[in-house]
Point group: C2
Chain length 225, copies 2
């Protein structure tokens, strides 16, 4: 059980994180940088979707960059760098989530204000990243068709705090007997009205819907008030 003392320390640390994240979000928004925090289970396909996203935005001349969190290995940063975009790995060495100061430190030396998009690929985990604001304007919860339709009900915290749900690997929907209606219903039960995008990097289906969503969100961020 969580003891009162650890709760108290945790509350203080979360508060500090929230303050830093809020300052980062204000700074990014003023510079017109849309920050996107991508959260999912291990193996949902965050890296594959992000690599494709970076490549497609870059091909249109949109300035993009990414930081990617993992406990160990820089496999994901290497995979993402294939897109040609600037990418940095954050190794957490056992920590189950990213925190705002880790992101901030890994941006040092980059001309962040010149970016239109900064993507943060979180550690693969449906629980812990939920509590940690990274200064993002968009939190995307990814869910693959291989994982089962009830994940939003089991992990409501993530879906509740996210702006968009992306159902990935839809090319595998058939072999996995994926129940699309149940998945949508479960997402909407947790967060009514949530925007849901279905995509497959392998088949290409829906990836442009995701790109359009991101471009729309950035337009909203930079539109005169």
């Amino acid at each position: 059980m969580i003891e009162p003392r650890i709760l108290e320390v945790r509350t203080r640390i979360l508060k500090k994180n929230d303050e830093l994240a809020r300052a980062m979000r204000d700074r990014f928004a003023a510079a017109g940088v849309l920050v996107v925090n991508m959260v999912s289970s291990p193996g949902t396909g965050k890296t594959a979707l992000l690599r494709e996203t970076l490549a497609r935005l870059k091909a249109r001349g949109v300035p993009v960059a990414a930081v990617v969190g993992d406990l160990e290995t820089d496999n994901d940063a290497r995979r993402l760098a294939e897109s040609g975009a600037p990418v940095r790995q954050i190794m957490t060495h056992g920590l189950c989530h990213l925190e705002a100061d880790m992101v901030e430190r890994h941006l040092e030396g980059w001309d962040v204000d010149a970016l239109h998009f900064l993507f943060i690929e979180n550690v693969g985990n449906l629980v812990c990243p939920t509590s940690w604001d990274l200064g993002e304007s968009v939190r995307a919860a990814l869910l693959s068709v291989t994982e089962g339709e009830d994940k939003p009900l089991k992990y409501p915290g993530l879906f509740n705090t996210s702006d968009v749900a992306v159902i990935t690997k839809v090319d595998l929907a058939g072999p996995c007997d994926f129940d699309r209606a149940a998945a949508h219903a479960n997402i909407l039960a947790v967060r009514p009205g949530m925007r849901i995008i279905e995509a497959s990097v392998r088949s290409g289906a829906g990836v442009e819907d995701w790109i359009d969503y991101l471009l729309d969100r950035r337009r909203a961020l930079t539109a005169p008030a």
Copy 2:
């Protein structure tokens, strides 16, 4: 970042958990109960494999029971109860892992000593459950073919502390372009000599290998020294 004070409190709580877990393991072993802690990502198929395991062991007259952890919902307990075995749900309400005292409390009223197997299905998470000993004799790390072959390298803590790796959903290996040799090499890189079992509940492949492994482990537990 983890502050020194939270580390200190965490160390104390982990130590208390370890002491309880050790006492539980001794008690279970003396009673001939093999306790199996199943850990994986959300969506790897822990519940499906466990339901099949409970049903097959029960059909042979082996006394079995299970407790299952989730943040919210008792979906998994209801799915597992279809096996006819006694099952209890542990709802963690946001906590990302099970702890020994949660397991102990949920066994109250059961004649645990009469069991041959007690299964614990952990919260879906590759990171946090690693640090929490639940008094198990066997820790099983599950990995599905849909998740990618590099998970053991990214989450070495789990594979390092586990006794057996179970690769699940092998009926989907083809559609997922699963690289079997790479997965085995990555598991063995993290834990040389680790026992690897490949299984699919849907096709039935390998499930008996898993059952045989469990029966062997229990025989070893109850064999006269």
